[in-house]
């Protein structure tokens, strides 16, 4: 009966406050769990729906208007091809920028401007990067609507800020004493970076880059903007092949009205995408844990 008598001091202020305290604690815990539990419930739903649809034939067939023959192979291969290209582009550029900002740049105006600019780029909506890709790679450089290269370059620019920021953190974590030891033995700046800083920072850089690739593989809006075809029947065989990707194929299938698509084929596609994403993130975490134990 103490709960609603918060105004009367006669009841003893300790007990009333404690009731409120416990209630608030439970409320905060519930808030913490509500998102996680909802997502878990949705994932469970989609996993159950995918049963019977996610089979070898689904993974090896091209898309088909008949849900029982529809497959995911061109989208799966397309996504992986785009992702490998993105890795080739972002890794050297991201590490280079991070090395400059951490090892060479002074704390001047230009550096702070670059830093603020990178933070801001990380917040630009992905659909806007799609327009950049449309104007720059498709329009100006004429790489072609929806090709592997156009898709990879566009998404590479999108995840580059994330790669730079995580590479910077990894480089910053290398103890300064190791750099001083290298200089003390007569090494130049570049030798120190190549032989001391980068090897020590590499696991962290790899982890950050791979996590960013996980983000890249789920991106849909930029691909729509550069007019990547939502449905492709053949596998990409050159940099200039038209390419679809898993999220794009899912987006396309989700608009089909048939129940077989909505609760079957798409569910199988979603589970495939999430499994690939989980694999990528697990690799990143394995790399991190392995090297954390050693140092």
């Amino acid at each position: 009966m103490a709960a609603d008598t918060g105004e009367t001091p006669a009841d003893g202020f300790g007990r009333i406050s404690r009731t409120k305290d416990v209630a608030f604690r439970l409320l905060a815990l519930a808030a913490t769990l509500v998102g996680i539990v909802s997502l878990a419930a949705l994932l469970l739903n989609v996993a159950v729906d995918a049963v019977g649809w996610l089979d070898w034939q689904f993974l090896t067939n091209p898309p088909h208007p008949n849900p029982y023959e529809a497959g995911f192979l061109p989208a799966l291969v397309g996504s992986i091809a785009i992702m490998l290209m993105i890795a080739l582009v972002t890794f050297p550029l991201g590490v280079g920028a991070a090395v400059y900002l951490e090892e060479y740049a002074d704390d001047g105006y230009l550096t702070r401007f670059i830093q603020l600019n990178i933070a801001n780029l990380a917040g630009v909506p992905s659909v806007v990067y799609g327009l950049l890709g449309l104007g720059l790679f498709v329009g100006l450089f004429n790489i072609g609507y929806g090709t592997v290269l156009a898709a990879a370059f566009t998404i590479a620019l999108l995840i580059l800020p994330i790669v730079i920021i995580s590479a910077q953190e990894a480089i910053r974590a290398v103890p300064d004493s190791q750099r001083q030891a290298s200089y003390g033995m007569g090494a130049t700046k570049w030798q120190t970076i190549r032989n001391v800083v980068l090897p020590r920072a590499m696991p962290g850089i790899m982890t950050g880059t791979i996590l960013a690739l996980g983000r890249a593989i789920g991106e849909t809006a930029p691909l729509i903007m550069i007019a990547a075809p939502t449905t492709v029947f053949g596998l990409p065989n050159s940099f200039f092949s038209k390419v679809s990707a898993m999220p794009l194929q899912i987006y396309n299938w989700a608009s089909y009205p048939q129940t077989e698509f909505q609760y079957g084929v798409v569910a199988a596609g979603v589970v495939t995408l999430l499994v690939v994403l989980l694999t990528i993130n697990s690799i990143a975490i394995i790399i991190r844990n392995r090297y954390q134990q050693r140092t």
Binding site: S17, R18, D21, R25, L27, A28, L29, A31, T32, G35, I36, L39, L42, N45, V46, L93, G96, A97, Y100, A105, I114, L116, N117, N120, L121, G123, V124, P125, V127, V128, Y129, L131, L132, G135, L136, L160, P161, I164, R179, G186, T188, K189, W190, I193, R215, I217, G218, T220, A221, I224, M225, T230, P247, I250, Y251, A254, Q262, V266, L274, N281
Partner: protein
């Protein structure tokens, strides 16, 4: 780190300098990206505004890029974005703030080690997957549970999904701000006989307010730019919001800016007509809004960092 270079070997020095400039180029690429984004959007948007007056675009209340009568008023799209932003804010801001309080003030180190990565997963799920969830699971579920007349495409389930997606954004930045509050403030409050509830709500939250504020703006900016969830689940009906009918706002189909861009992007519109160019005008509007919000968030955050360090 300015380190004297003791090497007198000319080739080695030259190579060092070459690498220095190579790395600098990589860093400057980020500025180049920003410039390219602005130029791409601006050039095509200027083309668009040559055909459609800027005033008509900014004050028009009808958006119909392909169906006669053609109209390019951006206000219905902005109000669609507003509905999604308000809806997702009602989900994410209270939940995210309570989550941050729990993680920072109540959770044990062990609990935190499990909860934080689990929350990060919420932001890691591809948005197209969230959109699909909203369309095929959330909408039918709400339709069965609540006695409301929900359209197949509606702002409600899209907002809920966007809200869940941005929870970790609010919670992680707010938690950082709360952890930065000096422990002496908490101890002083406990010394006066305050409970954890009072300490959390009357000491920690006010002290971390600028960080919390910064996380709110950043999360809302993310909600404004969110594309696939709304494109799949919120529908394609550009309309002005009717403030007298808050239920209708959420129960029916709407069209935010990002969703309109996807619709034009997936359509067969090619060439240089105003319908195609409007893509860049809407994109520019979206870019300016999110850019300003991110900048404000960054400025507010850098202020709180200075207070306690």
């Amino acid at each position: 780190m300015s380190q004297p270079d003791f090497s007198h070997d000319g080739i080695r020095t030259a190579r060092g300098t070459a690498f220095r400039y190579l790395f600098m180029l990589c860093a400057l690429l980020s500025i180049l990206t920003t410039v390219a984004i602005i130029l791409t959007l601006l050039l095509d948007a200027i083309d668009f505004f040559a055909q459609i007056p800027l005033v008509d675009f900014l004050t028009g209340t009808r958006w119909s890029p392909t169906n006669e009568p053609i109209a390019f008023g951006v206000l219905p799209l902005i109000s669609g974005t507003l509905v999604i932003t308000i809806g997702s804010a009602m989900v994410a801001l209270p939940i995210g703030l309570l989550t941050a309080i729990y993680l920072s003030e109540y959770a044990s180190d062990r609990q935190r080690a499990y909860l934080k990565p689990a929350l990060e997963v919420l932001a890691g799920v591809p948005t197209v997957v969230y959109g699909y969830f909203a369309l095929v699971y959330v909408t039918p579920a709400i339709d069965t549970i609540l006695p409301v007349d929900l359209s197949t495409f509606n702002a409600l389930s899209a907002s809920i999904m966007v809200g869940i997606m941005i929870i970790p954004m609010v919670s992680s930045i707010s938690e950082d701000a709360m952890s930065a509050v000096p422990d002496s403030l908490r101890q002083a409050s406990y010394g006066l006989g305050a409970t954890k509830f009072t300490v959390s709500t009357s000491v920690v939250v006010p002290a971390a307010l600028s960080g919390i504020f910064s996380s709110f703006i950043l999360a809302l900016s993310r909600a404004i730019g969110e594309t696939m969830i709304v494109a799949i689940a919120a529908g394609q009906t550009p309309r002005m919001i009717d403030l007298t009918d808050p239920a209708g706002m959420f129960l029916d189909s709407i069209q935010p800016m990002t969703s309109a861009m996807v619709q034009i992007g997936t359509g067969d519109i090619v060439g240089q007509g105003p319908a195609y160019k409007s893509l860049f005008a809407v994109g520019l509007t979206l870019f300016v809004i999110t850019f300003v919000m991110n900048l404000i968030s960054e400025l507010v955050a850098s202020r709180y960092r200075e207070v306690y360090r």
